[in-house]
């Protein structure tokens, strides 16, 4: 069954706090305005994230336990909405410091890493020496926040995700996107855009989710690893639409559309453009010195890519996944 969701393009001229929702991945406010700790330092972004399980009803009616993130107004406030992918962490061109405080309402330890941004990574190990987490963990039900600071920022599109047992926790849904322009309305130096679209890819294997949620995942239990990962749901911005396409409306003709792709899933995906070819600007938040044209964008697991094109008079279609 094909499903198509309504075109949701974010205009560069809108303030991030007014960002339109992209599927269930909310373009979230940065928390600058309301947070006393950062009111004085507007170049600093402060985000409270809460990791917690929630139930998502899939289009076929099946309820699947997901792990996701909510953005709260303060640690313990619990006023955010859980989603997977989690809320988009919005950085501005002049943001010099990102602080994320994590609350863990899961029943296992979890943590946060942002692929591609410089960060302190003190590994947490199992008693036998194997690494369990790439960085400091938040214990289940932590009463004090665990803080992650990123003070070497650069323009780009990045994937944030759990750094703890990522082979199981990422596919449970603990992932999201970070974006930072080089200037207002500019993706990278000299690459201006009028409108912006962020597409975060992930997949769900409901059997695995059931096993994890039901305490049947782990050594000696019914499911011992994610080696038999067989996703049944293919999500773009948290919705099961990957078999479909995104309509770039002809009303956007002549406007420069930036599309940021983030693959938070474990499979490769290939967005394919029709009626337009696009300038591939960057991979993993690193701009190409000489961008080239593409129609198909190969997105292996963990990859981010940014493309830019001027919408033709006909509009354009973006087949979410030619590998689907």
């Amino acid at each position: 069954m094909k499903k198509y969701h309504a075109a949701t393009v974010r205009s560069a001229s809108l303030a991030p706090a007014l960002a339109l929702l992209l599927g269930s991945a909310a373009g979230c406010a940065t928390g600058d305005e309301g947070d006393p700790q950062t009111r004085a330092a507007l170049t600093s972004v402060f985000v409270y994230l809460r990791a917690e399980a929630f139930t998502k009803t899939m289009p076929d009616g099946r309820d699947v336990v997901m792990w996701g993130y909510a953005q709260d107004s303060a640690f313990g406030a619990h006023d955010g909405v859980l989603s997977s992918p989690g809320p988009v962490i919005e950085l501005q061109a002049d943001t010099t410091r990102l602080t994320v405080q994590l609350e863990n309402n899961l029943d296992v330890p979890t943590s946060l890493v942002i692929d591609g941004l410089r960060q302190s990574l003190p590994a947490v190990r199992h008693p036998d020496g194997r690494v369990r987490s790439f960085t400091r963990e938040a214990s289940p039900g932590n009463v004090a926040p665990v803080t992650y600071v990123y003070s070497v920022l650069r323009p780009g599109t990045f994937l944030y995700k759990t750094g703890t047992s990522p082979q199981v926790q990422v596919q449970m849904g603990l992932l999201g996107a970070v974006r930072r322009p080089s200037a207002a309305g500019e993706a990278y130096a000299g690459r201006a855009f009028d409108d912006e679209l962020l597409l975060v890819y992930s997949e769900v294997d409901p059997e695995l989710h059931d096993a994890v949620a039901g305490g049947q995942y782990g050594p000696g239990l019914a499911v011992t690893s994610t080696i038999k990962y067989v996703p049944q749901y293919f999500l773009v911005n948290g919705e099961d639409v990957m078999s479909g396409a995104y309509d770039v409306d002809p009303s956007l003709a002549g406007r420069r559309l930036l599309v940021r792709f983030v693959n938070g899933g474990l499979r490769s995906h290939v967005p394919l453009f029709l009626q337009a070819d696009v300038l591939a600007l960057a991979e993993d938040g690193f701009p190409y010195k000489y961008p080239t044209k593409r129609t198909a964008v190969l997105m292996p697991a963990g990859k981010t890519a940014d493309v830019l094109f001027t919408v033709p008079a006909s509009g354009a279609k973006l087949l979410y996944d030619r590998m689907f």
Binding site: Q275, D277, Y290, T295, A296, S314, L319
Partner: protein
């Protein structure tokens, strides 16, 4: 040393070859000439080398048989291309043309990506201007997941205004061109569709066991194009070359999987992706091109590669020349006259493979033990495998060798290269 072509039966073979294959001036990709096409989506059966016969869907050229892949559409830069699609399948079909802009669709019913033709419904006419030369593909824009798997894919080649150039720059100059279109199949899905059980198709259990180049699995890739026992698979995939020829390899991933395509003998220089020359600025040439010995084309995407074999840097003369002998066309001069660095073993100590013609030298046949049989390598060419480097894709439904594999034959300059 005696050149095979002037010794033993070589001259006779050469004469036969000349008689049966009047060599065109340059290699050309077989297909249907545009700019107007009439395609019909219909069903047929794809043959696999181990004896399989798989119900498939494909595009036919007008009233012709279903083809896998569909007809290669050959047009010239600037052509106004029209493709009229009729449909004899039990489901809606359509065509999308990635890389083309301003594609219009007239007739049919609206679909998610483009207008569609209902079963037996009024045809749809797609029209666009082939504004830029390059290698492209087309496929069904209707239930693409199932349609692509069933075979509704094909190549679109927009020839440059300058003959012999793939793109509007000498960096795309070529002597011969070849199509390498990758696909794969899971026959369980095809059986379900054949028996009217489309609703049971489950792509989460998708497991292809056949892999194809230009619609054929090895060794059928090396059977000449148009062989009558492949009524639905008219295209072969057997590149041939003289030393120094620039082969334009038009790589298309028309399937859904990733296929690391690996060439033996020489690297490929990737000069274009998705029909766009890899250039830093218009007119700069392929200055962003790069060498690869394995390239993975994105599904739905294309790459153009220049492959040119001279045997450079081998450190010995592939012709077995003496230093005073004249250079052959395309010969790597720095190794001219350098001796073969191995003392050849006694022939009775050899167990030659099928392509070993009896000497290490290009175009020079030698003694093959009778028990080894006759080599199909009649002119003592060099044979290099091109294949998917996912080794499990080199089988036909668990039967190796086969799958996504073929051979390049480099022939001595005196041997006419057959167009396959």
């Amino acid at each position: 040393m005696t050149k095979h072509t002037t010794s033993m039966g070589g001259a006779m073979l050469l004469a036969l070859a000349l008689a049966s294959f009047p060599a065109p001036a340059r290699g050309a990709i077989p297909g249907v000439e545009g700019p107007s096409f009439s395609l019909t989506a219909r069903a047929g059966f794809v043959s696999t080398p181990e004896g399989g016969s798989i119900y498939s869907w494909g595009y036919a050229d007008g009233a012709g048989l279903m083809q896998y892949p569909g007809p290669s559409l050959l047009v010239d830069e600037g052509d106004v291309v029209t493709v009229t699609l009729s449909n004899e399948l039990p489901v809606n079909v359509s065509i999308v043309f990635p890389g083309q802009q301003g594609v219009t669709a007239l007739g049919g019913v609206p679909g998610a990506l483009t207008s569609e033709v209902e079963p037996g419904g009024t045809p749809v006419t797609y029209q666009f201007t082939a504004a830029r030369p390059g290698t492209y593909q087309y496929f069904t824009g209707t239930d693409t997941q199932l349609g692509v798997e069933m075979g509704l894919v094909g190549a679109l080649i927009v020839r440059s205004a300058t003959a012999g150039w793939a793109y509007g720059h000498a960096d795309g100059a070529y002597d011969r061109e070849f199509l390498v279109l990758e696909t794969e199949m899971d026959p369980i899905i095809h059986e379900l569709v054949e028996t009217g059980r489309i609703a049971e198709v489950d792509f989460t259990a998708y497991r292809p066991v056949y892999w194809f180049l230009n619609g054929r699995s090895a060794p059928d890739t090396m059977v000449p194009a148009g062989a009558q026992w492949f009524p639905h698979q008219p295209y072969s995939c057997m590149p041939m070359s003289h030393p120094g020829d620039r082969l334009l390899v038009r790589l298309i991933n028309a399937g859904r999987g990733l296929h690391p395509f690996h060439t033996h003998g020489q690297h490929m220089r990737i000069i274009a992706q998705d029909g766009r020359l890899l250039e830093s600025a218009p007119g700069a040439g392929a200055d962003l091109s790069f060498l690869r010995f394995t390239t993975t084309v994105a599904p739905g995407g294309t790459e153009d590669a220049i492959y040119s074999w001279t045997g450079d840097n081998l450190g010995w003369d592939v012709y077995g020349h003496r230093p005073g002998d004249p250079l052959e066309p395309g010969e790597y001069a720095l190794d001219h006259g350098k001796p073969f660095p191995v003392i050849m073993p006694d022939p009775k100590d050899l167990e030659p493979g099928p392509y070993y013609a009896g000497s290490p030298f290009l175009g020079v046949a030698g003694y093959r033990p009778p028990v080894a049989g006759t080599s199909p390598n009649a002119h003592a060419g060099y044979v290099f495998m091109w294949h998917s480097h996912k080794e499990y894709e080199m089988v036909n439904n668990d039967t190796p060798p086969g799958g996504m594999m073929t051979m390049l034959i480099v022939e001595h300059p005196d041997v006419p290269v057959m167009e396959m």
